[in-house]
Amino acid sequence: MADLGRAALVVSLGLAVYALVAGSYAAIYKRRRLADSARNALLACFGSTAVAAIVLASALARHDFSFTYVAAHTSRDLPTMYALSAFWGGQEGSLLLWLLVLTGYGALAVAVNRRLLRDLIAWVVPVIAGIATFFAFLLVAVSSPFMTQPRVVDGAGLTPSLQNPYMVAHPPMLYLGYVGLSIPFAFAAGAMLSGRTDERWIVATRRWTLAAWMFLGVGQLLGSHWAYVEVGWGGYYAWDPVENAALMPWLAATAFLHSVMVQEKKGMLKIWNMVLVALAFELSILGTFFTRSGVVNSIHSFAKSSIGAWFLFFVVLTTLFSVALILWRLPLLRAKTKLESPLSREATFLYNNLLLVALCLTILWGVIFPILTDLFLGQSRTIGRPYFDFFLRAFGLPLLLLMGIGPLIAWRRTSVRALVKTLRWPIGVALAAGVLLVVVGGAGTSRPGLIAYTFSAFVLTTIVVELVRGTRATGSLFELIGRNRRRYGGYMVHASIVLLAIGIAGSSSYASEVDRKLSPGQSITVAGNTFTYRKLEVSKSVNANETRAVLAISGRTNGTLKTGINNYFNGDTSREVGIHTNWLRAEDLYVIFDQRDGNAVFFKVLVKPLVNLIWFAGIVFLFGSLVALWPDAREQKRLIARLALAKA
């Protein structure tokens, strides 16, 4: 079986190289049949990669320990779900997943657009094939999942805290996002290579970008929720380089999704869009370099390997390629129109873009700072949470405000008076909310928290005003959303970001935390909740001794809560945090069993207001993204008309 997998990958590499070389030749010399042949090679490349993927998945499901990869990443007692998730648990499997998704996405994108965008697709094929060649080469020559060894009785196991459904879904979601960004990049490069730099490539790839962006967003939230409920430190995001590696391309893609609207409507920001799509793609590759090379110090210690250097080489190569293309096509990319007023929707989108890119680059700076200081000062220095938190507030709060202004401000130009008139309700509600929070002390002493809540009220009101106006005009909310899914899906996503902002502000600025050693019968009061330590329960499971402390909660909330620690027989420990959720307040009472001393226990008690809005935001985000993604017959008609116009 391993031979079949190896052979399939060699075939994939051959097909990718053929699609790259033949596709480039065909595109340069306008050889239509050869271009079709290159396109078919790309489709076949997906087929052969799928064969390799089936071989690996089958070996994982059968616990075939003659595969080195299977023996190193699974064990016989591992449930099938987790054994299969080992596909993306190790480096070699992750690379195979990357190639599978890339060729699958590529085949689909090329097949769907082959008639409408023939001249563009002729160049898109070799670009996707070029990326596929890189991954297929790594799988064949550097890091193969099909190495074999003498069969062993049992393989290595899975770290207990990773035996969690979140960890089954979180990595592939991120891969779907990372790899998905290759498609708009390939179309952008194809547009520049073919000289077709009108908005057709943007229209054709809008859904691809949106899907990749959605997967990246959902993947990150799944990872955050796993960290929150499983790792037991009370947080959900640590600004760790590996976490930031997923956030940065998401921010660049967010900027791109907004700026393409300006190009579609006004024909502006063409160069900027090319830069953004290249940036998002490069950051997705750079993230893999950070993760795999070990050049940055992360709490996620993936196995260090030599493929880091290959990824760095690929980042440099593709960056040079992108820069050269943009410089070459500058005359074609220059806008025919210019910004008419700083008070217009296109200007607001530009401000939004600058803030998103600034946030993205400041995070990148924080990630590479230790590398740069080591290189130039001879001493590595790391940047801590205050740096990232500062810039999140500095750029994030104005972004929140723009989210409310952008959808309501007019294209081309408007006056301050007209803008204030349009926004009178949101401004009124936001001011009232801000004053109310100050008067009742709801915002405590946190100024950023107060600003975040006020801006959130502003944005939510703009969304409500828009929905009310639209529903009045159409007579039905569903009819309204159905008529322009992209717009109203976007509003739902905006609402999810507001919920996220409220959740982050509430759970960080207004959280309470107390450490205390308690003996049975003793109590501790945190933020109006009294926790009384009742008793200790000790039991034995199949693979661990499980200790649980039972606490009664009274005061603002009533109930009981169990928190404890599992001491696995292999020496691992895992804290099982106790979480009591107050759904009305979206608040969590979060208790960590820190250390046992006889019957006494050191507890860490956290009260995290509004934290559940973060997870609820994830659901709204997913729903809004799906609404915006959903096929729309009206939009399709507009697209075909637009393409016909552009072609003419």
Partner: protein, 135 residues
């Protein structure tokens, strides 16, 4: 539609904003909240708060919540070629993170005091996704 005119002023303003941001970032990072990072072999003569990364060696003794603290030894993860990996005794006060045990890689923040590294914050690195049961 208005025709575009190429204005060098726009480029100058954009570059000025970018330069200001870069200087501000540099200042914030260097003078603000950055912490030097070391491994045990690089600790000699260092003062002030620093970050230390290494592999935990047993025996692990003491109590992280008691005055004496939790005590163990930290060793270089990647010793320089041809040299013996350096070690340093650690005294830790605070919450002991999940997955902390001998053999794991950790990151601790603290100060060097009388030859021992006294730490008040510690994170255990997540082991590579799938690890050997015997590790």
């Amino acid at each position: 539609m208005a025709r575009s005119t190429r204005s060098p002023a726009r480029l100058v303003v954009a570059l000025a904003v970018a330069a200001l941001l870069a200087v501000f970032l540099l200042y914030t990072a260097v003078a603000g909240s950055s912490t030097p990072s070391f491994q045990p072999s690089e600790l000699a003569g260092q003062t002030g708060t620093m970050s230390l990364t290494g592999k935990v060696l047993g025996p692990i003794s003491g109590d992280a919540h008691a005055a004496g603290g939790l005590r163990f030894t930290l060793r270089d993860i990647n010793p320089k070629a041809g040299t013996k990996p350096a070690t340093v005794p650690i005294v830790y006060h605070g919450s002991v993170p999940d997955m902390f045990k001998a053999g794991r890689d950790i990151n601790a923040t603290g100060k060097l005091e009388n030859g021992a590294f006294v730490a008040n914050a510690m994170t255990t690195k997540c082991p590579s996704k799938y690890t050997d049961k015997k590790a």
